[in-house]
Each structure stands twice: as structure tokens, then as C-alpha cells.
């Protein structure tokens, strides 16, 4: 997030897009509802109507995969009605003229043709966002999990730059991170192209810097492979060994049948996890890991707040914290630089190589944590980014043309499947499906089908249906509901016994490499007799 969570409560307009906030980030969802109770305007854009859309001043239901078109449409309305912030554009941005030129084609009428959003509703949404004194954009995977994910985010940034809604309280472009430490895993260099603090592995000076701190002389300058690419290379026989710490690609990754073939082709697979999971069936070695309650360390939330987790109980059984496991493997190999006695000692090394964390100490974290960047020990942390200047100087408008999703519907696969999550479950369910209070609420998969489609396909509420895509098929119970629009079906991906990712497409965004989990073409047929 460029801004902080609490600011949402005191802003004047919120644009929620591709985030089912009350289910996936319930405490943030509550803050959005609190803002609405205080009079803030709410715009919700989502192919599936969600709890928040019931409270929205405007709810727009686009065809999945048309984000760039309708975001360009919003920007076009802002400019054609002269609602942009001229001072901000003049002093803090560049590229406005090119953007303006591209946007001319994205009239509300044209956008309606592409996305199905009624032209007058689009105009209302644009006015709410642009006319508010302060407005915040909140987004999630509904924006990023597309083959145009990068363009989607850039188009959102255009809206914030156009209206000067950045660098001030209650504004910003605010992605919500789905897991407790997605932010930190990225900050720490758990990415193929960067070390900690997003310093590039192919930058000679950066690599040399890490070589000197780590006491090695052979760091690779070649960016590595993403999760999806590693699966591809494993299937091709080029990747031979894989070490998986706390992940379950056999449920979370697109095209599970393909993932399964790839993992079986590996010479050597190690899985470290707290719980039995679907990926372990192919593991050569399984290592029992300690849970969050059994270890010390820090995690970083979606507003960049670094916080402590603390050991409350002894590790269950013979499990060990992952940091101990990694150090023990390094010791077994005889590698230097892993003789840490505690996470505190590891954190001290992190501070030395990570400027944004340099001013953070375990002691300073206390009960409130600290938001990075925090470069020195007397720095108070940074709740709002880009207050006076952007890291690249001026904020850059990027004009993006609309492109169709990688897979479109046809006669054989006439419906669009979009996937997501439920309030009571989390990712691949290794934690929530082992929590009785949550499984009591819901413990099985379903597919949501619009009543018009259900009628045409002779599907009734509760029927078992077969769902097929170009990659696989499964059987699941149908829910007939207007939560999804005509032509669109929705499935949660938590449930291994009807795993939505058997169906999904591995096509990914060329820059972010995020797979298009939110759009693929499927067919449905009733199995009821």
C-alpha cells in the first residue's frame, strides 16, 4: 500500500476493485464500511457482487478481463469533464499528453461495448472518485491475476495521478496483500530478480555488495525463474531439484494436472511444511516445520508494517522452525554464513543489507511495529509513500491499450470461470480446513452459476455438475445465484477434492509473470438424473 490501513476510515471516497475485502481482509473491510457510515462514497467494481457492493453508491459489474478498458474509460471521463488535478499533473507527473491522446477512444459508450458496464454508471463512478477531496483506491488479485495485470495496475495509477490522489492521507493506490507475509517475502528478496529491498541481481554493483557481505565471490547475475516458470522447466526436464518451504503448488497453481506432471519429473523434491498437503505425494524428503505460535521472527503487513511474531509454545512433535532447518542444511553442506543462533541475529544481518529496514530493531518494534522505509534508528517509519517526490522523480502516466484475456469463450467452452476465496478459508486450506470452527461453516467446493445460464443448461440449485476447460475437468455442486452475471461462473480454489486450479490457465502477464487465474473458458453440464 502507498498509504496506511487506518486512513481508509477517514477518506471521502473509496474505489474497491477486484478485492472482496470483507471476506479476504475482514478488518480492512470493516474500516471501509466504517468510512461509508461516516459519509464516504463507495464505488465497487467486481464481476461478482460482494458484500461491499450492497453498500456501494455505484456497483459496476464488468466482464472479467476488461479492466484496462473500463479504467481507461474512467480516466477518459475525468479528462473530458475537466475533473483532473491540473496543478498535480503539472508539477509531479509526466506523460499526460500521450495518455490523453490514447484515452480519446475510450468513451463510456465504447467501454460499455467492451465491458458491459452501462455508460452512465461509469460516468457516475468517475465523478465520485475525481470529485472527492481525498479518494483511495483499494485493489487485490482481481486486478493482478490477469495476463494484462501490469497494465491494469498502471491504469489504476493513472487515475490516482490524474486526480492527485497520492502522497496525502486518505489517498493512494493500495494493493491488499493476501498472506501474512507476502510483503516481507518480497522485501527479503524471495523473488528471482532481486535481493532484499528490490535491489536487482543483474546490477553489478549490487551483486558485488552482497558478495562482500556474504563472503562469497560467485553470485549469479542472471535473474532466475518465477514459480510458474520453474514448473514449466521442471516439466521440460531442465529443473532437476526443487526445495519448497511452506507452499502447496498442487492446489494453488494454475493447471494442476500440468503441475503434477512437472513435480513427478523432478529428480529430487523437498517439502517443508507444518501440515500434510497435496504436494507431498511427490516429495523425496518431507520436513516438519514449526507453526507461527512456535517460533520467533518478524512479518510485514500490507501497509509495510514490520511486526513481531513470538514463540508461545514449544514446537509440536519434532518440528523445527524453518530458519533452523535452513541453517542446519547449510551446516550439513559446510556452507559459511549460516551460523545463526536466533532470528534476532538473522534480522541484524538483514538490517545491514536492506536500507529500508536499517533503522528497525526488535526492540523498537515493541507492540506497534514500524512501517518501512525506516532508514535510521531515530526514523519514525513511513505511513505514507511518495509525499513529496516519487522514487523515479516524476510520476509517469502510462497509456495502455485494452487487450482481450489470453483465453476467450467459444462454442465448446462458452462460459468464463473466475476463481477466488471465501471468508472461512485461506489459500490451500492447510490451516483453515484443519480448524473445526471454520470447517463447520463450510467445508466443500461449489460453483456459482447465474439463473439465466442455469435455466439454459437445465441446472438446479444443489445439482452436481461437470465443469471442463481445455486443461482438465472436475465435478462440483452448483449454486444458482445472481452474485455472478450471465456468462460468468465462480469457484473458490481452496478445496482439493474439486480443485478449481485443475481448470485455470497458465497464461501470464509478460512483466509481473502473474498467471491469469481470474479468467478462463469452461463448459458446464448437469450430472443430475
Amino acid at each position: 500500500m502507498t498509504n496506511s490501513i487506518n486512513e481508509l476510515e477517514d477518506t471521502h471516497a473509496i474505489l474497491v476493485i477486484g478485492s472482496n475485502t470483507t471476506e479476504q481482509h475482514p478488518i480492512i473491510g470493516e474500516k471501509i464500511l466504517s468510512a461509508v457510515r461516516k459519509g464516504a462514497k463507495l464505488v465497487v467494481i467486481d464481476p461478482r457482487s460482494i458484500h461491499l457492493s450492497d453498500f456501494a453508491d455505484v456497483y459496476l459489474r464488468p466482464r472479467p478481463g476488461t479492466e484496462v478498458a473500463y479504467l481507461n474509460g474512467l480516466a477518459q471521463v475525468i479528462i473530458s469533464e475537466s475533473l483532473q488535478d491540473r496543478d498535480f499533473i503539472e508539477t509531479r507527473t509526466e506523460g499526460f499528453e500521450e495518455l490523453k491522446k490514447l484515452l480519446a477512444d475510450y468513451t463510456p459508450e465504447k467501454v460499455q461495448e467492451i465491458s458491459g458496464i452501462p455508460a452512465d454508471e461509469l460516468v457516475r463512478a468517475a465523478r465520485i472518485y475525481a470529485e472527492a477531496e481525498r479518494a483511495s483506491i483499494v485493489y487485490c488479485m482481481g486486478i493482478t491475476q490477469h495476463s494484462t495485470g501490469t497494465d491494469n495496475v498502471l491504469s489504476l495509477a493513472n487515475l490516482a495521478l490524474l486526480t492527485g490522489n497520492i502522497g496525502k492521507p486518505g489517498t493512494g493506490v493500495n494493493p491488499l496483500r493476501g498472506q501474512n507475509n507476502v510483503q516481507g517475502a518480497c522485501d527479503m528478496g524471495g523473488l528471482p530478480n532481486v535481493f532484499t529491498a528490490y535491489r536487482k541481481v543483474d546490477d553489478e554493483a549490487v551483486a558485488a555488495d552482497f558478495e562482500s557481505v556474504w563472503g562469497v565471490d560467485n553470485l549469479s547475475r542472471k535473474p532466475g525463474l518465477t514459480v510458474t516458470e520453474m514448473i514449466e522447466k521442471a516439466a521440460e526436464g531442465e529443473l532437476r531439484a526443487l526445495f519448497i518451504m511452506g507452499e502447496n503448488p498442487m492446489l494453488s497453481d494454475p493447471d494442476i494436472n500440468h503441475v503434477s506432471k512437472a513435480l513427478q519429473k523432478l529428480n529430487f523434491l523437498v517439502v517443508a511444511d507444518i501440515m500434510e498437503n497435496e504436494t507431498m505425494q511427490y516429495a523425496d524428503v518431507i520436513l516438519p516445520a514449526a507453526s507461527f505460535a512456535e517460533k520467533e521472527g518478524t512479518i510485514t503487513n500490507t501497509e509495510r508494517r514490520v511486526q513481531r511474531i513470538r514463540r508461545a509454545i514449544e514446537p509440536v512433535g519434532e518440528s523445527k522452525p524453518d530458519w533452523e532447518i535452513i541453517c542446519a542444511i547449510a551446516a550439513e553442506i559446510g556452507a559459511k554464513g549460516f551460523d545463526f543462533n536466533s532470528p534476532l541475529e538473522v534480522f541484524e544481518e538483514i538490517r545491514r543489507v536492506t536500507a529500508s529496514y536499517a533503522g528497525i530493531t526488535y526492540e523498537r518494534l515493541g507492540a506497534r511495529g514500524l512501517q518501512w522505509p525506516c532508514p535510521q534508528e531515530d526514523h519514525p517509519g513511513t505511513p505514507i509513500l511518495h509525499e513529496k517526490v516519487f522514487p523515479i522523480g516524476k510520476g509517469k502516466f502510462t497509456a495502455c491499450e485494452f487487450r482481450e484475456p489470453a483465453e476467450t469463450t467459444d462454442e465448446e467452452y462458452p462460459l468464463i470461470l473466475t476463481t477466488g476465496r471465501l471468508l472461512f478459508h485461506y489459500h490451500t486450506g492447510t490451516m483453515t480446513r484443519n480448524s473445526p470452527s471454520l470447517t463447520k461453516e463450510i467445508d466443500k467446493a461449489f460453483i456459482e452459476v447465474n439463473p439465466i445460464d442455469a435455466k439454459a443448461l437445465a441446472i438446479s440449485e444443489g445439482d452436481m455438475v461437470r465443469v471442463a476447460s481445455r486443461r482438465g475437468s472436475l465435478e462440483v455442486e452448483a449454486k444458482v445465484t445472481e452474485r455472478v452475471g450471465k456468462g460468468v461462473v465462480f469457484m473458490p480454489f481452496h478445496f482439493a477434492e474439486a480443485a478449481a486450479n485443475v481448470l485455470t490457465n497458465t497464461a501470464y502477464d509478460p512483466v509481473s509473470k502473474i498467471p491469469e487465474l481470474k479468467v478462463c473458458a469452461v463448459s458446464i453440464s448437469s450430472l443430475a438424473v
Binding site: 481482509h25 498472506q179 501474512n180 552482497f210 549469479s220 520453474m230 471468508l423 509473470k513
Partner: protein
């Protein structure tokens, strides 16, 4: 407190679920995690927790928890001692690297692990194995 009493402690920590980072108090009764409470003074959650947060102690003692290392022998995972498991892991990773080059080895680090653990695994991949094949499920 006499020996007959149950010990009871509240350990402040951060929720294990989504990226909001709500403050939790882990209830520990006689050495066992017995519940989770919200932290009233937490800067973000201010005494609130969602259902997942309130029940986040429940999976900790699940019968599906892994409690012993296992090595696959004749196609079946067999429990073993840590010493043996670590040796097999070290040998397996080194063998793949020595025979097929460092980029034949990959690492999935985790959005559910700590900063320290993510740091260590990417350092291990880069400095020990020599590959930048490090990623996690941020994209999924």
C-alpha cells in the same frame, strides 16, 4: 501459584492469516496453546479479529500436523531422524547442482514464513547453490 494450578500466559504476536497483520494474544494454558484473543491497543486491528484470527490456534494441534521428518524409500514416505533427513537433503541439492548446474535447482520460499526465514532461504539459494531461482506464491 501452587503446583495444582494451571499456568496461564498471554503472548503478544501477529495473526497468521491475511496481510492485514492484526495483533493477537496467544493464550497458553499449561504449555498448550488454548486460544487466541485480540489486542485492544494494536494500531491496526484495535481489538478486532475476524473468525479466522479468533480460531487460528485450532490447526496447531491438528492430527495432520507433521511431527517427524520422512524420507521416501521404495516409493513410500518413511519416518526418520532429522540427522538422516538433513543429510539426504544436502546430498540431493548438491548432486543436482554438480551434475546439472546451479540453475537446475529451484527454491519456493513462503509468504507464510517470517522475514528471517525468507532472507535465509534466498541467501542459501544464491550464496550456497548459486542460483536466482527463488520465488514464492505472491502471484497466486
Amino acid at each position: 501459584m501452587s503446583e495444582k494450578d494451571l499456568s496461564y500466559e498471554l503472548i503478544p504476536s501477529t495473526c497468521a492469516y491475511c496481510g492485514t497483520g492484526c495483533g493477537v494474544l496467544l493464550e497458553v494454558m499449561d504449555g498448550r496453546l488454548s486460544g487466541v484473543l485480540p489486542q485492544k491497543d494494536h494500531p491496526v486491528s484495535k481489538g478486532a479479529l475476524c473468525l479466522k484470527g479468533w480460531s487460528s490456534h485450532e490447526f496447531v494441534y491438528s492430527p495432520r500436523r507433521l511431527d517427524k521428518p520422512m524420507i521416501r524409500k521404495d516409493g513410500v514416505p518413511v519416518e526418520c531422524e532429522w540427522e538422516e533427513a538433513l543429510k539426504v537433503v544436502a546430498e540431493g541439492l548438491q548432486k543436482a547442482r554438480n551434475e546439472h548446474g546451479p540453475d537446475a535447482v529451484g527454491f519456493f520460499t513462503s509468504a507464510r514464513c517470517t522475514n528471517e526465514e525468507n532472507y535465509l532461504l534466498q541467501k542459501f539459494a544464491r550464496a550456497v547453490i548459486g542460483t536466482n531461482n527463488v520465488d514464492h506464491c505472491a502471484r497466486l
